[in-house]
């Protein structure tokens, strides 16, 4: 069977829903392809999520789970909530757009859904992803390792459309996202982030779908901001008000939190955490895996991501960083979404192997072997090393 007829067969097969019959129903060549895919289901007894806090929810996705597909399933997508998840009633939901605008707006979900719908796939990474790997002597915050990241197709309205309707005044410089979540104690500041109006007008989205489904409550239902290429905290969940102002928000989470602060520095004067840093992760083999020698080729694969300049190159080393070989990109691509990459290493006999992957972004910045730790433990983009065994 040639490639074209195989493809036609698979498409017919998928349309007919015969997939429910299982891999055994596939012809031998398709069984071989399917057998090479990691299973979509988690192995029995091994959850796909790591709970790093139960309330508010801080859940990390395992590398094994992330590695199964370019898009991350909604119920496997990392969760980071600063404050308890609010309960939203879609029927009574209103989005207020106000501040330095010609006319304030009050929009229902139906109003927002009546605006042109757009979908875009973007990777969201928590700014604290990798904090736990810094192993700081003094540390605050969730000790994320590598899985506070996910890639999803977000659907909703371009924020620029909404802002154009409100008509930003000449002094409008920043867009603040206020949200419905509140702490148990009233003195705790609300979680609030703002973005410069240039970013807001360029590509920020107000999303109400995630991977084609209604946005889940844990991920910001009924409406959240998606700020492509920026660390996840910028993509405020449960948004209820878009405030257009002449200055950035002075909220605690803008002025004191999410700053690259080093010992002796004032957080307010430190650089803000905004665009993601170039980074890659190895999803296969997993650390400690026992990989069959088989035909003598071991596949190394993973994802790489960066900010607006994109990922230009991924390289892999199997000799402690002395030499680096470029990996190939594969699968889908979208602006500010991670890219899958893969390479193969030929192994002559059973051995233990350590591989490293490093990515370079479109502006030529390459991941460091060890990122310089900042006090908040943000943006750890140190090179990922994985040790595994090749067995005979």
């Amino acid at each position: 069977m040639d490639d074209l007829s195989r493809r036609a067969f698979l498409e017919r097969f998928a349309r007919a829903g015969v997939a429910a019959m299982g891999v055994g129903a596939l012809p031998p060549w398709a069984r071989a392809v399917a057998a090479d895919l990691p299973s979509r289901a988690a192995p029995a007894g091994i959850p796909d999520l790591i709970e790093r806090n139960d309330w508010p929810e801080h859940w990390e996705t395992t590398l094994e789970s992330l590695g199964r597909s370019w898009l991350t399933r909604n119920d496997r997508f990392f969760v980071r909530s600063h404050l308890p998840v609010p309960t939203a009633d879609p029927a009574s939901f209103r989005l207020e757009v106000s501040g330095r605008v010609q006319r304030s707006l009050t929009l229902t979900l139906a109003d927002l859904k009546a605006l042109p719908f757009q979908e875009a796939t973007h990777t969201l990474e928590c700014a604290g992803n990798g904090r736990g790997l810094f192993r700081l002597a003094n540390t605050s915050g969730t000790q994320w390792e590598r899985g506070a990241i996910g890639n999803a197709t977000w659907g909703g309205v371009k924020l620029s459309l909404v802002l154009q309707r409100a008509g930003p005044l000449p002094e409008a410089k920043h867009v603040w996202f206020e949200a419905a979540d509140h702490a148990t104690l009233p003195s705790v500041p609300p979680f609030l982030r703002s973005v410069p109006i240039e970013k807001a007008m360029a590509d920020v989205m107000l999303a109400h779908t995630m991977n084609g489904e209604p946005l889940p409550e844990l991920h910001g239902a009924p409406l959240r901001a998606i700020v492509p290429g920026w660390f996840g905290m910028a993509s405020t969940k449960w948004v209820t008000r878009v405030r257009v102002e002449d200055a950035p928000s002075d909220n605690h989470f803008m002025v004191k939190g999410y700053r690259y602060t080093y010992p002796g520095e004032d957080p307010a004067a430190a650089a803000p955490v905004e665009e993601v840093r170039v980074k890659s992760v190895i999803t296969r083999p997993l650390s400690g895996a026992r990989v069959p020698l088989g035909t003598g080729k071991v596949r190394i694969q993973g994802f790489a991501w960066a900010g607006s300049s994109g990922v230009r190159l991924v390289e892999v080393s199997a000799d402690g960083g002395k030499t680096w070989r470029p990996a190939g990109f594969m699968g889908e691509t979208a602006p500010m979404a991670w890219r899958a990459w893969a390479t193969e290493v030929e192994v002559k006999k059973p051995t233990s192997l350590t591989v490293m992957a490093r990515a370079t972004d479109g502006s030529g910045v390459t991941q460091p072997l060890e990122a310089k730790p900042n006090l908040g433990g943000y943006a750890n983009n140190s090179i990922h090393k994985v040790s595994f065994h090749v067995r005979g």
Binding site: E11, G22, D36, R40, W55, T142, T343, V347
Partner: protein, 125 residues
């Protein structure tokens, strides 16, 4: 690459595009099968998770105070995963008092002592 190298590399990229396409279709099939399987499960349930840290605060002097003061706003795991010296815990407690946690000076000191003794500074990198 010198002859003594134990490994040889093969870039995998454009050359496997057809293969990737077939893999994607096969993935759709697997996904469809799994979607059917999971629909039968408990809808709305939280997915299973591996608990990373102790979900309860350890016993000891100050335990009840910590339980009462901290868990108003977050669960114990946010504490049991931390490592801080006395100065850093002091800073945290002052911040929490600013945000509404009510502590007498004696309770403040007891809480700091409890946190430092159980979740003190990491000694090894």
């Amino acid at each position: 690459m010198c002859a003594a190298d134990p490994v040889r590399w093969t870039a995998v990229g454009r050359g496997i595009s057809k293969f990737v396409h077939i893999r994607r279709l096969a993935a759709m099939l697997m996904l469809a099968g799994c979607a059917l399987a999971t629909l039968a499960g408990a809808a709305g349930d939280k997915p299973p998770r591996r608990i990373a840290y102790a979900p309860q605060l350890p016993a000891g002097e100050g335990h009840e105070l910590a339980d009462r003061s901290c868990r108003t706003c977050h669960s114990a795991m946010l504490i049991t995963q931390q490592a801080k010296d006395s100065t850093a815990w002091e800073k945290t407690i002052v911040q929490m008092e600013k945000w509404g946690v009510q502590l007498t000076p004696a309770e403040h000191d007891t809480l700091r002592g409890y946190l430092v003794s159980h979740f003190g500074r990491r000694t090894q990198k």
